[in-house]
Symmetry: C2
Subunit: 79 residues, 2 copies
């Protein structure tokens, strides 16, 4: 069975790092391939994140769902 792709979008903020710590520790890596994307440095990925429904970071897109994990920064701060 192929793994689900999970993408964690962040911007290096303290709230982002806390969420990343929990995600990387507790996400089931037998089921998902996790990619971590820093939108502050990979600005070319901002449009892709917005298309997936990401309104703020940190956010996790997995299995067709977009989960905002607490609130670090709005997408508008990353453009």
């Amino acid at each position: 069975m192929s793994k689900t792709i999970a993408t964690f979008y962040h911007a290096g903020c303290p709230v982002c790092l806390d969420a990343e710590s929990a995600i990387t520790r507790y996400l089931d890596t037998t089921k998902v391939n996790l990619e971590v994307v820093h939108l502050g440095t990979a600005k070319n990925r901002v449009a892709e994140a917005e298309a997936a429904g990401v309104k703020s970071v940190p956010a996790l897109v997995v299995g067709g769902q977009t989960l905002h994990l607490n609130f670090g920064a709005p997408m508008s701060a990353l453009k």
Copy 2:
């Protein structure tokens, strides 16, 4: 190694159910014991959730971190 306790607080709202679906599907159950708490019916758990820093549901408390997953309802709506 003993498992980490994870508690998912919700109130049966649509946003809650979407988040619960992702959490129960992708959380690594070899590392965590997940408990799902419906604060609409288990009102006696509201104080415990607030003590853990839960401001709204759905939220996941795991490994000392409190992650609000999107926004369904404020805690004030559950009292």
